[in-house]
Symmetry: C2
Subunit: 150 residues, 2 copies
DNA sequence: ATATTAAAGGATAAAAAGGTCTTTTAATAA
DNA sequence: TTATTAAAAGACCTTTTTATCCTTTAATAT
């Protein structure tokens, strides 16, 4: 459903929202190390995210990545659409080119409500809101290994 | 979530259940043509499915693929596990290596009920039962294009 | 100003997934 | 028993995805 690339992008953007700020920018390496993602790959993804204004960066000493208030208003759907492309998000679970209520695949009516729910959340919650919820609920953002001490 | 290969395998097995029988075997080409799947690729998948006794085949004139009563008792999960491997089915939506109630990814509690529902169905319904339901509900099995006339 | 730091950019490599083709084997109809 | 048919087997090829590396550019601390 989601490519590994967009999973990385989502997790690291949420991580940025939680741990970085204009005053405390984070380097690719630090983030990649924290959430356990290959850093050169993440660097590429971040280039893309900066270009489309989902995250921000500055170069040089004390440079790094962070979110502006504008960035914080973006959504997870924005990330997915940027990385995976608009079209792929809503693909039929069984691969039918045209799958809808009139033309349902064998699991359409099970998958539909789930999609509605998760993409609704991804669309309606800002990154900031999402990150706050993640923090409040103690959700996990690192792919593997043990949590890094704060 | 599912590879294209296992999507093809599921759709074509359901198609077999509905349209083929010991008396009326179907060739790869016929099936591939009907559901709009590349036939050499489907041929490879069918080899695998025959080996693990999910579908059956005979060679020669009037040969082809069909389901025995034993085959009909297999499940969609059996197909997925054979094609994609046991492990991949239940992967975390956001790619966490270890994602569960104690260690939830940010969308765990949305994804969990969906997985429970769809994999429950895939596990508990036999291919035969599933195919009958598909037929009763008029679900679509062809990937693209128009339905072939019977 | 200059050295240093960290992102940007571009080129490439490795791996996985998806897809094709040709030869061999086995069943059967004639 | 032979020609024919259709699957089995195995070798390839292509595209996409994932991942790495090296050079350039731009901040900034000194």
């Amino acid at each position: 459903m989601l490519s590994r690339a967009s999973k990385y992008a989502i997790l690291s953007t949420l991580y940025l929202a939680e741990h970085a700020s204009k005053e405390k920018k984070m380097s690719v390496k630090a983030i990649a190390g924290s959430i356990n993602v290959p850093s050169p790959f993440l660097a590429k993804l971040f280039q893309q995210l900066v270009k489309c204004n989902i995250i921000s960066s500055t170069k040089g000493p004390n440079g790094g990545f962070f979110l502006t208030e504008e960035n914080e208003k973006k959504t997870v759907i924005d990330i997915i659409e940027e990385i995976d492309g608009t079209n792929k998000i809503d693909d039929c679970f069984l691969g039918l080119a045209k799958c809808d209520g009139n033309n349902p695949c064998p699991v359409h009516f099970i998958v539909e409500p789930f999609k509605r729910k998760i993409f609704g959340k991804f669309r309606d919650q800002t990154i900031k809101e999402f990150a706050d919820e993640v923090e409040a609920q103690g959700s996990v953002l690192f792919l593997s290994g043990l949590e890094k001490k704060k």
